[in-house]
């Protein structure tokens, strides 16, 4: 480990299982990230989000009364959201494809299946830090560009007005 702690970086963990919360906090401490906030569901998390404006969110999927999908939508779409661009890593035991797709369509940045390994978590975080994604706003969706990789051999279907043209970034 090199250098001083990341004093001003703030991370929010949203997880209803106390053991998993503790595990994630410990992993963040191993990275020298000290400002870690915890919530046991999406509703409590949103209150912390407004107060603390974290730089990164790690969230579970299944929680009550507000789950990780609804929380992610709130972060991305609510007018009260202090930072709709905040990276969100969803960490869950759910590996069913339809749930993964729900998470993606809610606007999560990265998806990580449990069991957690340090290597997999750190790879996801490195991806976020080193290659921040473009965001897309279109009918019914705001979040990271779901087309993660440009596929040169892709022939369509084309769904965006700017497909096959020079992309205009604002």
């Amino acid at each position: 480990m090199s250098g001083a702690a990341f004093d001003h970086l703030k991370v929010l963990i949203v997880e209803d299982n106390v053991h998993m919360r503790a595990l994630l906090r410990t992993l963040l401490m191993a990275l020298d990230i000290k400002n870690v906030f915890e919530a046991d569901n999406g509703a409590n998390a949103f209150a912390i989000l407004r107060d603390m404006s974290p730089d990164l969110i790690l969230t579970d999927l299944t929680m009550k009364p507000v789950d990780g999908i609804a929380f992610t939508r709130e972060v991305r779409l609510s007018k009260q959201s202090p930072n709709p661009y905040v990276p969100i890593v969803m960490i869950t035991g759910h590996t069913e494809r339809h749930r993964v797709e729900m998470a993606r369509d809610a606007g999560v940045t990265e998806f990580l299946a449990k069991p957690i390994t340090a290597q997999n978590l750190f790879l996801r975080l490195a991806e976020i830090v080193e290659r921040p994604r473009s965001y897309v706003r279109c009918n019914g969706y705001f979040g990271p560009d779901r087309r993660r990789r440009a596929e040169e051999t892709y022939k369509g279907p084309w769904r965006r007005h700017d497909d096959q043209s020079d992309l205009e970034f604002r």
């Binding site: 990341f6 992993l27 990275l31 661009y85 069991p115 290597q119 490195a126 830090v129 965001y135 279109c138």
Partner: protein, 181 residues
């Protein structure tokens, strides 16, 4: 658009999407990003963090056993929703508790209940009970990470596949598809 499928290959469909590039929205400060990247890519950090996870195994194992008790209670009162919830908690924790086979069996049970539920069917009690017994035995075993635990997990996975193939899952679309952990 003259009667053609608007999403056919090579053809554009008019959807308004605004793309917002990194740098035009708040991201990590460059200095932080560089430092964090170095730390995240440092093998020493990863090794240290892996040790941290390993140190938690006993604590997590106790948590898994507590969920196994709740799972058995949920099955006793035939609350299939609670069975799924507890099996889901177990599959989430078991891998980090050094109970890989327990996690696999719990994952199989979740898969079975999820697909059956989405197909509008009721789970077979015998399938649920077989998983329950296997989870309980594996979680309590001194060394569940043996070929026996894996064999049981494999056999139960085959059973789930067979049972799911017997129901009409076509109506559920991709419900039966799972990603690799």
């Amino acid at each position: 658009m003259t009667g053609q499928n608007p999403s056919s290959p090579g053809q554009k469909k008019s959807t308004t999407a605004t793309k917002i590039a990194p740098g035009t929205y708040p991201t990590f400060a460059t200095a932080d990003a560089m430092r964090l990247s170095r730390v995240l890519r440092d093998p020493e950090t990863t090794t240290k963090a892996a040790r941290v996870i390993a140190d938690k195994a006993d604590e997590l194992r106790m948590a898994v056993l507590a969920h196994v008790g709740r799972l058995e209670e949920a099955a006793r009162i035939s609350d299939i929703g609670a069975v799924f919830e507890q099996a889901h908690e177990i599959r989430g924790l078991a891998g980090n508790a050094g109970l890989a086979a327990t996690g696999r069996i719990a994952n199989g049970l979740c898969k079975y209940i999820d697909v059956i539920d989405r197909a509008g069917c009721k789970p077979e009690r015998s399938v649920v009970v077989l998983h329950l017994e296997a989870i309980a035995r594996a979680a309590h075993a001194e060394d569940e990470a043996t070929r026996l635990g894996d064999t049981v997990a494999d056999e139960l996975a085959l059973l789930v596949e067979k049972r799911l193939s017997e129901i009409n899952v076509s109506a559920t679309g991709k419900a039966g598809e799972f990603i690799a952990p």
